[in-house]
Amino acid sequence: MRGKFPMKVAVGATAIALFAAGCQSGSEPEAPSDGGTLRVFATEPAGLMTGANDSPSIQVLRQLYAGLVDFDAKTGAVKNQLAESIESTDNTTWTVKLKKGYKFDNGEDVTADSFIDAWNWVAYGPNAQPNSYFMSHIIGYADTQSEDPDGDGPQKAPEPKSKTMSGLKKVDESTFTVTLDRAFVGFPATVGYAGFYPMAKACLADTKKCNETPIGNGRYKMDGSWKHNVEVKVVRSDSWKGEKGKVGSIVYKIYDKNTTGYADYEAGELDIFDNVPPAKYKDATSLYKDTLFEQASNSFTYLGFPMYDTRFQNVKLRQALSLAIDRQQIIDKIFFGRFRAAEGFVSPNFQGGNRPGNCANCKYDPTKAKALLAEAGGWPGGKLVIWANAGAGHEEWTAVVGDQLKANLGIDYEINATLQFPQYLQTADDKKFTGLFRLGWNPDYPVLETYLAPLYGTGGSSNNSSYANKEFDDFVQKGNAAKTIDEAIKFYQQAEDILVRDLPVLPMWFGKATVLYSKNVKGIPYNTISGVELQNVELNK
């Protein structure tokens, strides 16, 4: 008995301590005066120069830099940020006027040169920036790329003709003009993308250092330098004269695996976790439903038709295949509702993109599918191959697509998911698919054109199905040359209607952003274009 006594005291003391602690936490917690620190899940960025095109990099760049424009959180409409105006009379030559008084963190002014130099640097071939191709519509881009001397081979490529693009001209300290190789009404929307942020002279003078410790011009600035594979920390920047961020600092904690991130979220180490492992999705959505935010995102998954294969050139056959697939069933049964069935070819979040029910051929209608297949003269025979890249979890759902086609249309199928991603992409580039192929798309800028021309335009850069239709090209062209974005949308929608009829690809679904947040976070401010607005998150304590 005696031995146990001190234990009792300890228990009692703990109880009192817990009680006291309980009383304290019972009162309303005060919001931190400096906004507090937001801990965000991240993966290792590919780079912190504006030439990086991967989402982990862009997530950080968005807070460090400010571009000419940004986007309205609800409507996705373009709002001027650093730009006073971006105007053009012919949609080809654009005059950009900058607001005055914005500075980089090292004290340099943001001038016309900051933009021109940055864009030239990103474009210049030998700098090997993934965003280089974003500049490809600016006149003079080709001169900044080196040409292969002997077609292919290990020989050192010669220096490009020029380090600068002739389409960028400085007018005065705060004005410059951009000349495009085509008319494009959506140009002001494109420059909100991270690839078009300005860079300081000091940054371009030592790019290696700047990649580790960027010199930004945005709401936040670097706190220390990039700790590789550990974290990137940013704090409120005093030199930013726009609207301040609500959190005092943001720590991007870098993980290699989302399973580890999930464990750390469960252990209370993360305030924002947006990469729920697919295997944990069902668990997470029921366990943490009070701190879960979901919103349709813009990432598009499709099954492409290899239209270079004669079997797939019959439009009725393509329609039949599309109508025989029950997208919602796949989403519910295999993905537990992680996606939103596609009702068109463009993201419903975009201006002019939300037209529910517009895609008559994206619905599930097996009877009509059978009839159309009969009209098309039946399936030419042989197995229908469905391609997907290996090791990315595509085997299961593509097999269900195959099962549905077999059940509804009697077409035998075969899944080919053996190629690793690089080789799979190479097969796409080489146009060597022999059946339906899975691919995806993420928009480059919030203009419907980004879902149309690159994917389906004749000779489009990522037109993997080799679709070519003059009528479609014309509508996109008319949209690009339209006077206002609203007028342009009408043409883009007409172009989309052609896709609905022709089905160069089977639209499958759009992604959903699934964000888990900690109890310390008041809610998720979400921008339909750029995702979670980390700067506007509010913390309780």
Partner: protein, 337 residues
């Protein structure tokens, strides 16, 4: 002794070159059969051919032999070896784009820390458990050690790492943090679910224990067996007969002789940690060498793999040599000439 060391050092050369060639061949084949890793940086977007070619060249993957399936790429290997050993240029990683030497310099300290912790866990706990079991042969504590070590050996590290993370780091840790209001260093540092920069040593202890667990078991078993054998040896009986104290008989005579095989496993287990670290570091987000290798495998970056493995192979070889030399210290009968 000196000549022996020189001979062993010379043997390093074919070993290192052989290992690196194997690795070079495998990574080259991965590109030949799996495709150009630079292409996947662009994902669904088709990059302009010119841009792709330029970047491929910059990352040292432009050699045409990388497009011929099965080609061992001797020329490329020769170039790479020259770069590594003559110019100390280990190439660049793809994303983020950095010198492999920098990547390595960042990663090594973590792995060294983790190795130290795992080694201490293994050596101290393993030896203690082994000696205990050996001295109490057939008694309760012996059975406990034997059963626990069998359990440890039979659970693969990727299972134990995930289980420890889930139940110790998350569940137990949450109980500490939320219900007991444990201090930061205890709740978040020691019993966290992953590595934290704020607790550079504390948060490595849990992964270190997981890493040391596997070899801990074999060390304990080996110590126990070796001790039992020596306890029955003639010289021990003689020592006891001479009237030496038990402490001296066991502490000085028996233990020293029993440790020779144990030192071998201890030394080699440091090499084993490097392999185990691939799993442990991956699970616990320790940005060390294993973590980096895992990432390089996933993205298919030959230069990172070759660079990091060169260092691992060297570490392994040096440790091996060190262990061999240590024999002579422990056992006067062994001489190197």
């Amino acid at each position: 002794m000196g000549r022996y060391v020189v001979r062993r050092l010379l043997q390093f050369i074919p070993t290192v070159l052989g290992t690196l060639f194997l690795l070079h061949y495998l990574t080259s084949m991965a590109i030949q059969f799996g495709g150009n890793p630079v292409r996947s940086l662009f994902g669904d977007r088709t990059p302009p051919e010119e841009q792709l070619r330029q970047m491929t060249e910059q990352f040292g993957l432009g050699d045409p032999c990388l497009q011929q399936k099965g080609n061992p790429c001797f020329g490329l290997f020769w170039e790479r070896m020259q770069d590594i050993f003559l110019r100390f240029d280990f190439g660049q990683s793809l994303a983020p784009r950095r010198d492999v030497t920098d990547v390595l310099a960042d990663a090594l300290p973590y792995t060294i820390k983790l190795t130290i912790i795992a080694f201490i866990v293994e050596a101290v706990l393993g030896l203690a458990a082994g000696v205990l079991a050996g001295l109490r042969n057939g008694k309760f504590s012996d059975y406990v050690v034997r059963i626990v070590t069998v359990l440890m050996i039979s659970v693969p590290i990727f299972v134990s790492a995930v289980l420890v993370q889930k139940f110790v780091g998350v569940k137990f840790g949450n109980w500490l943090r939320q219900d007991l209001d444990a201090p930061e260093w205890l709740g978040r540092g020691l019993f966290g679910a992953a590595y934290k920069a704020e607790f550079p040593w504390l948060s490595l202890i849990l992964p270190g224990i997981v890493l040391g667990m596997l070899t801990l078991a074999s060390t304990a078993r080996l110590t126990r067996g070796s001790l039992l054998e020596n306890l029955r040896a003639d010289y021990v009986r003689t020592a006891k007969a001479k009237g030496l104290t038990t402490n001296r008989v066991i502490g000085v005579h028996t233990l020293r002789n029993s440790l020779i095989p144990v030192v071998t496993t201890l030394g080699l287990s440091i090499g084993g940690y490097m392999a185990g670290a691939v799993v442990t570091e991956g699970v616990f987000r320790v940005p060390g060498v294993g973590f980096t290798i895992l990432k390089a495998i996933a993205t298919g970056e030959p230069m990172v793999l070759i660079g990091l493995t060169t260092v691992l192979v060297l570490v392994y070889l040096v440790l091996n040599l060190f262990v061999d030399l240590l024999y002579a210290v422990l056992d006067p009968r062994i001489r190197y000439e």
